[in-house]
Amino acid sequence: MSSNSAKKIINDPLKCADELFEGLVLAYDGKARKVGTRSIVMNDLRPDAPALLIGGGAGHEPIYHGLVGKGMADGAAIGDIFAAPSPDIVLEATQAVNRGKGVLYLYGNYAGDVMNFDIGAELAVEEGIEVKTVIINDDVASAPPDAKHNRRGVAGLVPVVKLAGAAATKAASLDELARIAQKAVDNTRTVGVSTKPGSIPATGQPTFELADDVIGLGMGIHGEKGVGLIPMCTADELAPKILDLIFADDLPLNAGDEIVFFVNSLGSTHMMELLILLRAAKPILEKRGLKVHQTIVDNIVTCQEMAGVSFSITKLDAELKALWDLPCESVGYTKL
């Protein structure tokens, strides 16, 4: 067993994914159940309806599996720490959420997730289950707009799953659910920054290296490189740097547009800092004429005790706004 230099309250460092998963199922107080190796599926799902399945690697809690819930995802297929779920796990989850109308896979754009979900989909199709896939690629800093297929999926997952989850409570067909999920993705952009690495639970090793006097602008949630390092700066200096990257992207954000604005901590960045950043960011949004329909300030998309934040913007049209306003409840995100 590796020594754990990160001083974490765990048991066997190699069993973290299985154990946190067991804990997660318990956190649902009987509203969801364990399926197969490492999938969680809601009980009491709408019959004869298309299903919403999310998933990804563990270690980023409360995502991904914590976004399973009422008005959220129907189920999640969970991998090991920082590793996409295997095709077997995807298949088990697919079978469990399917209610005869097919299953939408909705997950972040990582090579491992794409390949494993694709193999899982092939297995599901062999069993006669219709599968569609929508890939979340909200991370503006990871590739230019003309190479969206190379963009990572990061904190934009939360508004996207919220919207798709609301759609899943109403959609008549898998196609309709996929259309709305894709629209939510198309309307969502995120830029993150990091100030400190998280650690790999199995080894206690940091996930990356970062000097004390710099911020990684546009970094991914595993420490993937973004647009570059900038000198450590104040919240008031940082907020416009992040927003400018989002504004410079291809999503039109014009005066009068309504948005969801999500300020996310990557782990150990404290809510105090998120609120100080929100104070810096909101006037900039308002100056551009954007109307914030809902603000979310929380740590939902994390990488262990990594420090850093991300801003996500989701633009709401009338259809998405109506879906947004539906209540939802999950371990990771709840709204009345």
Binding site: L14, G57, G79, D80, I81, F82, A83, A84, P85, S86, P87, D88, I89, Y110, A111, G112, M115, N116, D118, I119, A141, S142, A143, N150, R152, I200, A202, T203, Q205, T207, F208, G220, H222, G223, E224, K225, G226
Partner: protein, 211 residues
């Protein structure tokens, strides 16, 4: 004594050595992934090869094909992550190319590697130069085709050198797939973790065959 042809039991023993070598190489493989990715490649490979070892040890293989595909299945279901899909596909598709073969020789090696790398390329979309496993697999497969008529010990030795050459060449590359793809120039100088695993596996095969 070097082996010119392997029985299905030999193939099992060779693959068990590959499992051990990967498990032992966990720290280096994770370290390589920390430079370019999220630092867990060695852990995933360790998980996969531990599962493969168990499955191999559970029963004598029915066939040469089965020995390889057992490893592929075990990796595919136990690992997850990019490398679970990649190495699962590699061993499963490579194994399928050996259907019906009673022994494993230089021709079989060539068939295995070609089918394996083809599967990986069509699954992940990467080509040589994209800083992925393909950078070690493809030169190995190309070399194996060239030496398919040679004796197995000579063939595997040449193939292992080709894989190592591919790994070495991968250092100079900018990644185009996987988590490292956004690193750009910063990726230069570091070898690809997945390609490193390929060389560990092929070197284990070489050591078993030439021992």
């Amino acid at each position: 004594m070097p082996k010119t042809s392997l029985s299905k039991e030999d193939v099992k023993a060779m693959l068990l050595l590959a499992c051990e070598r990967i498990i032992a190489a966990e720290p280096q493989l994770s370290e390589a992934d920390r430079n370019l990715g999220d630092g867990d490649h060695g852990l995933g490979m360790q998980r996969g090869m531990t599962a493969a070892k168990e499955k191999l040890n559970a029963a004598e293989p029915d066939s040469v094909e089965k020995a390889f595909s057992t490893v592929g299945m075990a990796m595919m279901s136990s690992m997850g992550g990019a490398s679970g899909a990649i190495f699962g596909t590699f061993f499963r598709n490579g194994g399928k190319a050996l259907a019906g073969k009673e022994t494993f020789d230089a021709a079989a090696l060539a068939a295995f590697l070609q089918a394996g790398v083809d599967g990986v390329k069509s699954r992940g979309g990467a080509a040589v130069g994209d800083k992925t496993v393909v950078d070690a697999m493809e030169p190995a497969a190309v070399k194996a085709a060239e030496v398919a008529g040679d004796a197995l010990p000579e063939a595997i030795t040449a193939v292992a050198a080709a894989a190592e050459g591919g790994l070495e060449a991968s250092k100079a590359l900018v990644a185009k797939f996987g988590r490292a793809k956004t690193l750009g120039e910063a990726a230069i100088g570091f070898p690809d973790a997945g390609a490193m695993s390929v060389t560990v596996i092929i070197n284990a095969m070489k050591d078993y065959i030439t021992a």
